[in-house]
Symmetry: C2
Subunit: 254 residues, 2 copies
């Protein structure tokens, strides 16, 4: 990683993505318009929002009937009971609640607020929300295969999301789905420059890349949903992003 | 952020840093050898390890006498009681313990393992450990002033550390000290591309930059302690990295 620049280039001009759209040709067209040719080792970071949209993960609150549990939790958290119903349906367990916040263990295993359900950058008004992709690692693998077939190179795909942290304000990007990008790496056995065994034994490369990629994507009107990452040695074997989830047995903060 | 590349370049060839060394000339010399000229908006990311070393934050375990509390906690966690003594002395409170792990609220306010005390990449054998810098934000401001005076440009300085996360494996880089780099940004009031108010209201730019910078620095023998970040709009006002710490009243996981 340390012999060349690591760079993040936002891709502009993608059209609004709708259910059923094939994302890979849209991204390849945007790359072409930007004069970029995919190369071995590239990583294409894509926000989960457009993956979810393409997979039809939009829900209309008007079509949701809240359960008794959702009504109860909505009263505590002052949230729309129909949104709470969707949050519960997407989750294994509620981890913490307070007014305006429901932190859950998502069905994918992530601990995050509101089950990752998003209302920003979704067409259709306040009634429309977006769930996370059904299986982000599978989506990443599909996209990787499509990009590699089109470009004839080995590369990685990183599907990003933004999450809060327990003790720090502000969200940061994380790897929600990965193909050809390393979610975590065990450095045990490696030595430092003085020959001592490393203390930091595991790092999280995909999350570290996602943090900068999501910063480059931005959040507001000028947001760009795709970032081309160069210098990150993408294109290795497929390890799912879920591999970075801390096993419940090692969780001190549940 | 989204109109140009964001890039991270590792700086090689810094000498081993010792107590009393003036870091700014060492970094400027390495930049010169790499043929790089500092420009407006640059951000210089520096690992806390070399800042700490230059500030004489090395401690010899042989000189530490553990307290009764340190002996007790060392028995529970199976750690060196003298190291535990240093961890306690650097901390406001112990947050969680288990064998091999002590998670504390550091005196700087961060929640992290072992008070950030490090044994990797420190000269002198197993007896020598490294504390975090005394005041990383002040160190960042001093370095910023030195770099700006030498280069005649406006730039930012980011002092990085690596920390674990509550629910995800592997460490990621964070901003331990900042000058001219935004620790967090409140986007409330901004609108998405469909004119709806943004849901993600706070982002953490300095942490997001630190994540990729630390990935580029690496952890092992070939580690580079300084990374030049371009495209991140450094050089604004000085907001301390401590601004990103979640206030205790909003902490659901203590």
């Amino acid at each position: 990683m340390s012999d060349r620049d690591l760079s993040f280039r936002p891709l502009h001009g993608l059209p609004e993505v709708r259910a059923g759209d094939d994302l890979a040709p849209l991204v390849l067209a945007a790359l072409g318009r930007a004069g970029l040719t995919l190369a071995d080792g590239d990583v294409i970071a894509i926000t989960q929002k457009i993956v979810s949209k393409s997979e039809g993960r939009i829900r209309h609150l008007a079509a949701v009937t809240p359960s008794a549990q959702a009504l109860e939790l909505a009263a505590i958290t002052r949230k729309d009971p129909r949104l709470v119903e969707l949050i519960l349906a997407e989750s294994h367990a509620v981890v913490r609640t307070r007014p305006d916040t429901i932190i859950v263990e998502h069905r994918l295993g992530l601990v995050l607020a509101n089950a990752g359900i998003d209302r920003s950058n979704v067409e259709g008004g306040e009634d429309v929300v977006l769930l996370l992709p059904k299986d982000p690692d599978a989506s990443a693998r599909r996209l990787r295969a499509a990009f590699e077939a089109a470009a004839g190179v080995r590369l990685g795909v990183l599907i990003t999301d933004s999450v809060g942290r327990a003790w720090r304000r502000g969200t940061v990007g994380i790897a929600l789905g990965t193909a050809g990008v390393t979610p975590f790496e065990d450095l045990r056995g490696r030595r430092d420059r003085h020959g001592r065994a490393l203390q930091v034994s595991e790092i999280a490369p995909a999350d570290s890349l996602a943090a900068a990629a999501v910063l480059v994507m931005g959040e507001a009107a000028e947001a760009t949903p795709v970032v081309l990452i160069r210098g990150a040695a993408g294109g290795g074997s497929d390890v799912p992003a879920t591999a970075v989830l801390r096993p419940r047995a090692g969780d001190l903060f549940r």
